[in-house]
């Protein structure tokens, strides 16, 4: 029934064509079909039909589903990249200054947002056929935990807490690692 409703117009066209063809030699004087079948033409006809059915029912849905899944995954990865950039902007702007409690709160809350985006990506990837065996949790969790530790470990809650140069360079490296993991994943998802 689904097939009939989906291809209603094509089936009607096919039916009309068959009726016209059948009646052709009766209506138009002198028009007739040859009373022989060329095996090459018949094989070509059958192959064309099989190829058309294969493309319509197998290849097209697969390409369409893959594109949708890729778009979903890439959108989620881009959101993660945006959150990561926001955290890093906060971090850069606080360099060499005592961190205020507002900064600390912002960083903690934004880290939680990023954490939840990573978790959402991991859950999403389990539902997507293309990424089931591709996206491993550790790709993101390891650099994320490491980056979070660099930002909020040590004396983060101290009134006089400053990201000093040693921490600064370390945190930059960890930020880059997480950023790279996200960018690599975007490229890899596009290749699927």
């Amino acid at each position: 029934m689904k097939f009939l409703s989906r291809y209603y117009s094509q089936l009607i066209t096919l039916l009309i064509g068959a009726i016209v063809g059948f009646l052709c030699n009766r209506i138009i004087n002198g028009a007739y079909f040859e009373q022989k079948i060329n095996p090459v033409s018949a094989a070509s006809f059958a192959l064309t039909i099989i190829l058309a059915l294969y493309l319509e029912f197998s290849v097209r849905p697969s390409i369409s589903n893959n594109r949708n899944e890729k778009d979903l995954l890439i959108d989620q990865l881009k959101e993660m990249k945006t959150s990561l950039s926001e955290i890093h902007s906060l971090y850069i702007s606080s360099r060499d200054n005592n961190l205020t409690s507002d900064y600390k709160k912002d960083i903690t809350v934004k880290l939680r947002t990023l954490s939840n985006q990573i978790n959402a990506l991991i859950e999403l990837s389990q539902y997507c056929v293309i990424s089931k065996s591709f996206l491993k949790k550790e790709i993101f969790t390891k650099p994320y935990f490491s980056y979070k530790a660099a930002l909020t470990g040590n004396g983060f809650d101290l009134d006089a807490f400053v990201y000093d140069r040693i921490h600064f360079n370390d945190t930059e490296r960890k930020y880059n690692n997480l950023g790279k993991a996200i960018m690599h994943c975007i490229v890899d998802v596009n290749k699927l």
Binding site: T108, K148, G153, G155
Partner: protein, 111 residues
């Protein structure tokens, strides 16, 4: 195992967990360990019960707080005992549970 014990950090400790030590600010990981986690964990071990830690509703947890509290507990009781008795609830931030378990496993080396 007996009926599980619980700790709700938001209700019983604070909604703004601090850093590692009291000298770094209020509601530190060490303070949480000493005043709440350690006594409740000892009780759970004595009763052979689970201790369920509810992490929801807070402002977010700094690494130093989590490491000092749960890593600190592991340095006292050992990884096996801690993982046997502790369970976590974190609907606000599900990855937090994995993060804490990492600190518990890493603290083993320091024990």
């Amino acid at each position: 195992m007996s009926k599980p014990l619980t700790i709700n950090i938001f209700e019983e400790f604070t909604d703004i967990p601090g850093a590692r030590y009291d000298s770094e600010g209020q509601f530190s990981g060490k303070s949480f360990l000493e005043t709440l986690l350690l006594p409740r964990f000892k009780e759970a071990v004595g009763l052979d019960a689970k201790l369920i830690i509810n992490l929801d509703n807070g402002e977010g947890y700094a690494t130093s707080f989590l490491e000092e509290a749960f890593g600190g507990l592991t340095r006292i009781f050992g990884t096996e005992q801690v993982l046997k008795h502790l369970e976590f609830i974190s609907f606000d931030e599900p990855l937090l549970i994995e993060e804490i378990k990492n600190y518990i496993l890493e603290a083993k080396a320091a024990a």
